[in-house]
Subunit: 286 residues, 2 copies
């Protein structure tokens, strides 16, 4: 990170976090439709709540709706396929198969993020085309409108391995640090910290979900007190929170990886028998 770019942004990478913060859910945006001016609508809705150094959290659903990312529901399976870069795992359920995939945004999630709740009947909704870019456009516009610095997070609701239940995560971000890097800091016993990087944008996304619920009646939250994370627009977005697949120990479902290994092993086992038979033939005493 370029320290000179942080002048005036109150950066305190290795400092203690603030002692408190508050999250306020905001409604009153009405039903968002394709082509709506989200910047204006969100700006109007948060006008009385937002102040300098706040972080605005917006659910991806209204971003997608404004971006016109809606499709006919009967093309849902095709939409999932089109959004999929890589199948990670699949699981049969009554009436079909849940596909957990890595999608075009790099996110690993069920159904590639193609969503059928809180959408008009007969339609499904894709995730925003580029949530970091959407966050950036909102951040630029809102900074201009209000005349002060703020950060923006766009969220989605995702399941996770090993634990039940879903949590909201940051799939887009702008004008803020998405991580808090503790590497190089010392613990209370003056030793380097074991724990290195906190995914603060994900923790804020989850916090905001606690006041948003799951209907579009309250699709926006304002977070007061996290101004130490607000940064210039050059700061990288939420995409940087995605673990590169080559570093991922769970890049493939256990059953899928096992099957891949089985096929390789099967071929190798056949070869080894043939080879040992050849060796046996060649070397055996007549």
């Amino acid at each position: 990170m370029n320290q000179s770019k942080l002048a005036g942004f109150g950066a305190r990478e290795a400092e203690e976090p603030p002692q408190q913060f508050t999250v306020v859910g905001i409604g009153g945006l009405g039903e968002i439709a394709a082509g709506d001016d989200l910047l204006m609508l969100v700006g109007n809705a948060i006008e009385d709540e937002i102040s300098t150094g706040d972080i605005l959290v917006v659910t991806s659903k209204i971003v997608s709706k404004a971006e016109g990312r809606s499709l006919k529901a009967d093309s849902r399976e095709d939409a999932i396929t089109a959004e999929t870069v890589r199948l990670v795992a699949s699981k049969p359920h009554p009436g079909g198969v849940t596909r957990i995939v890595q999608n075009k945004l790099g996110l690993v999630l069920a159904a590639a993020g193609v969503d059928a709740s809180n959408t008009p009947d007969g339609t499904v909704l894709l995730l925003p085309e580029d949530p970091d870019a959407s966050a950036r456009a909102l951040c630029i516009g809102l900074r201009q409108r209000f005349g002060f610095d703020l950060g923006v997070i766009i969220t989605d609701t995702l399941g996770r391995p090993w634990r039940l239940g879903q949590t909201d995560l940051a799939i887009g971000a702008a004008g803020m640090a998405v991580t808090h890097d503790l590497r190089g800091t010392r613990d209370d016993f003056d030793r380097p910290m074991d724990v290195t990087i906190t995914a603060v944008a994900d923790e804020i996304a989850g916090a905001a979900n606690l006041v948003l619920g799951k209907t579009s009646r309250r699709p926006v939250a304002v977070v007061h007190g996290m101004d130490h994370l607000v940064r210039p627009l050059e700061e990288p977005g939420a995409r940087t929170l995605i673990r590169p697949v080559e570093d991922d120990l769970f890049r493939l479902g256990s059953a899928e990886a096992r099957l891949e290994g089985f096929h390789e092993g099967f071929a190798a086992g056949q070869r080894s028998t043939v080879e040992s038979a050849v060796i046996a033939e060649g070397s055996a005493p007549a």
Copy 2:
């Protein structure tokens, strides 16, 4: 859930969440040592902040320290082995191998939760023996002391597949709902919700981490405004957030699952060659 047990607890399972909440970090507990009366120390620290319906968040580190879960650092690898129920994945790093395991608590995490930061030199710290029980003891004691209802969460910092950075999760909980179940609710278009269960205890744990940082100077947070989640003590704890291994598509690291499959496939491949050779011998025209 037994509705009759919820009388007086303001349960609103399918209602909108509160419009806002506030998280306050609390310090001043000093260094916690084995045998310390955590109930008294935490109670004293939060006395001026806590009120009815609040949720108290406590980092597992101070719970472990009070419970005397400290070991000599030179037995760290042995401690990890002892805490491990099942090896999930492993990854070499400079100077050793990181083991991702399912530990005695059912949690899947690196090094079985054996922690070497913020512990006195030459020691490592195990997770609390039973974090739900520790949360319950705190919850009972604090409810008695203050004379009102509150919930308790015990947190730990965990990595996750697919995403970089760590977040805090609830490894123990008492006196509160750890999930918010949306099944059966309708979306804005009057259709059943796709999204079913929100892991609210994990989202609150992550929110609290935003004011705690990673040193023991501020190991406790009070969450105001989540009183709709406060429940009788009979409510199940954070253990219920752990996905049963048989339902887990990522129960084994991809490389480990692949290797398992390879060995099985290899044996099957050898058998198949032998069998086809036998068939070929028996059926081939002489």
